[in-house]
Symmetry: C2
DNA sequence: CGATTTTGCGTTAACGTTAACGTCAGGCGG
DNA sequence: CCGCCTGACGTTAACGTTAACGCAAAATCG
């Protein structure tokens, strides 16, 4: 490992000068500056991040801007879990997480949250943003100082200078849903798609992917149903009632958001098992029992916990470890069924075991042993 | 942050004594030892890993014991990719990866590889093991010095004092395959299961999961076909020929290892599309075109890259960051189809982008933009 | 031209941990 | 009783980086 001291020696200056040159702190003549830069490049000098942080003793604060955790059926708890997991793993690092939540149905609340972060600019070193309110997000992102790195999760605002974006392609996830639905209904029947106003671009793309992928299937009829979330809490429960009433021939329902459980509830009450095939999104808690019992056949998951986890990891890679980071991460589109549900909820990145070694060995697995 | 100096002050000793007490280096009276331990616990002292490693300047070497990367249709390249990815991300850490491969069909070669590692005991600080040869692995693992932490990937030897094990439940993955097959064949027909001698417990468990999950389906007949890998390279291609000849009514084939492409090849040559539904395992390269074209309907993936990646990460968490690690990680059972294939192969953990910021922005995505 | 600022550098004390080394008292054998 | 050993500590110099401080010489100003 080549150190700052060797660089100094080769350049015929002191380490202080090299340090100033490295961090553009000025007080270095142009000639020496260039000489040092050349030598640094030649020797492939990489600063020792351990020594650096030991000396700096800087606290890094990462703000996390997401909707209230309770919204979308407690969906927004999941990214926060991943974020906590990352913070846990990175315990030895001087990192602080600052969660700032907003009401995903109120632009005003979003701007208030954003303002709070920008006002504390000097104390914030990185940002994880879920730009659910797309128009407002765009405005906000433009106001982020260029030196402040930010990472999008869930979706993203295009053409920004974000450090990275971590999301799932919603169009393709819809197309995958279509493929599964096609399989479930055996290539024929009437499939209902549930929509909600106010519209959400991200969700719309899922629907587009779904309908376009099924268009080539001549024997599958697609009908769209729409509800207004403002009317009541159980929007999709009531929407499902309408579907049953207006389309008795319906044998498949596609729910492009996390509210599949509302539809499943109605199916469980009114329809015989296996007659209407339901595909939903997201491993939120209310969905799980219905998936296990078969009222929901497939859930498409976008690994929100991984998104949060990676968001923090990328910031650390960039700021603390000075590593290059991928400009985008397209998370896999996960298909979850009753059969592989356990692995998705139990051993997401949130799970940690703090038990001592002997307790581990003694622990009954409850699961099938691999051998013997 | 509480430092060693504060501990020393509170205990009324010097930092040297505290350090000796911390690392059991002796030369500390019993009374002082206990006093220091008590204070450390009270203050919740955590050593600063930055300072620690700066002072130690220790190189950590992690040996990786897996089959030759080319075996199983280059399957074993995949964990290595994840391992390299981890090493990349952890570049600033003083870490060295030492890959040691063995022929998965030769116990002798496995023991030779193991011996090589044990002989360099003093230079090895951690171990990642894929215990494919289960009997030999058991013998080997018992010989690992207790102080040397090791992590299993792919499968594991039960009742060992491994640091952790990272694997997928093979039985459950087979059950999931059964569910998908049931869907594909519409609940009726003849399904062939391909097996290979010599037997592999891990693979057997997949088959068990598959057959047991389908047993309750009275209209689905399961037939087992077996081939000897020693006979030729294209074992499963020829096995598929036998299946077609002996069971013309067959409408589904389950391949519990990574050789699905051999069967797919024959289907492509002899059978009309959509007549025989094929489910295989693992995203090895030869499988990919067949999945895209539909000759393979589903591939079950166990994320070998993530397994390798996590293996290294866990060792680092344990040894370098002194964090507790989970005793086991049950990786999700991934269902891969033509629709979500891209996300699985493109943006596995191996992908990194080293391009500068401006190149990123200009880069054409080729994929559908999320918004406008 | 003297006074003051600026430029360009060198020096040094941290940051927290580690381990080699020094020291001093008590114990033990001869 | 002397020499030697060892147990139980304290001291200190690293590890590599950072930034405050110091100090000349050069540049600028009145």
């Amino acid at each position: 490992m080549v150190t700052i001291r060797e660089i100094a020696q080769k350049a015929g200056v002191s380490i202080g000068t090299v340090d100033r040159a490295l961090h553009n702190r000025g007080r270095v003549s142009k000639a020496t500056q260039e000489r040092i830069s050349r030598i640094i490049a030649e020797c492939r000098y990489k600063p020792n991040v351990f020594a650096s942080h030991l000396s700096l003793a800087k606290q890094y604060t990462f703000a996390v801007l997401t909707p209230e955790p309770e919204q979308d059926g407690r969906y927004w708890e999941l990214p926060m879990r991943g974020i906590r997991k990352a913070a846990d793993e990175l315990k030895p690092y001087p990192i602080r997480i600052w969660p700032v939540h907003y009401d995903k149905y109120s632009e005003a609340s979003f701007f208030r949250a954003g303002e709070k972060i920008l006002k504390s600019r000097s104390e914030v070193d990185g940002l994880v943003i879920a730009p659910v309110l797309s128009a407002a997000s765009e405005t906000f992102v433009r106001r982020i100082p260029p030196a402040l790195p930010y990472v999008f999760i869930d979706s993203y605002v295009p053409d920004t200078s974000c450090l990275s974006r971590i999301a799932q392609n919603p169009y393709r996830s819809g197309a995958l849903g279509a493929r599964l639905m096609d399989l479930l209904v055996g290539g024929m029947g009437t499939v209902a798609v549930c929509r909600m106003v106010p519209r959400d671009y991200h969700i719309d793309d899922r629907v587009n992917g779904f309908t376009e992928a099924l268009r080539f299937r001549k024997d599958v009829e697609i009908v769209s149903f729409e509800a207004d979330r403002k009317t009541d809490e159980a929007v999709f429960y009531h929407l499902a009632e309408r579907i049953l009433a207006e389309r008795p021939s319906c044998n498949g329902i596609f729910v492009p958001n996390s509210l599949g459980h509302q539809v499943a509830q109605l199916l469980k009450e009114r329809v015989q098992p296996g007659r209407i095939h339901l595909i939903g999104y997201d491993l939120v808690e209310p969905n799980l029992p219905f998936l296990k019992e078969g009222w929901i056949r497939f859930l498409i998951s976008q690994r929100p916990d991984v998104q949060g986890y990676q968001g923090i990891q990328l910031l650390v890679q960039h700021l603390l470890l000075k590593n290059p980071v991928p400009a985008e991460m397209n998370l896999p589109i996960d298909i979850v069924t009753a059969e592989n549900l356990d692995e998705h909820v139990e051993t997401g990145p949130q799970e940690r075991s703090d038990r001592p070694a002997d307790a581990r060995a003694a622990r009954p697995s409850g699961r099938r042993a691999v051998r013997k």
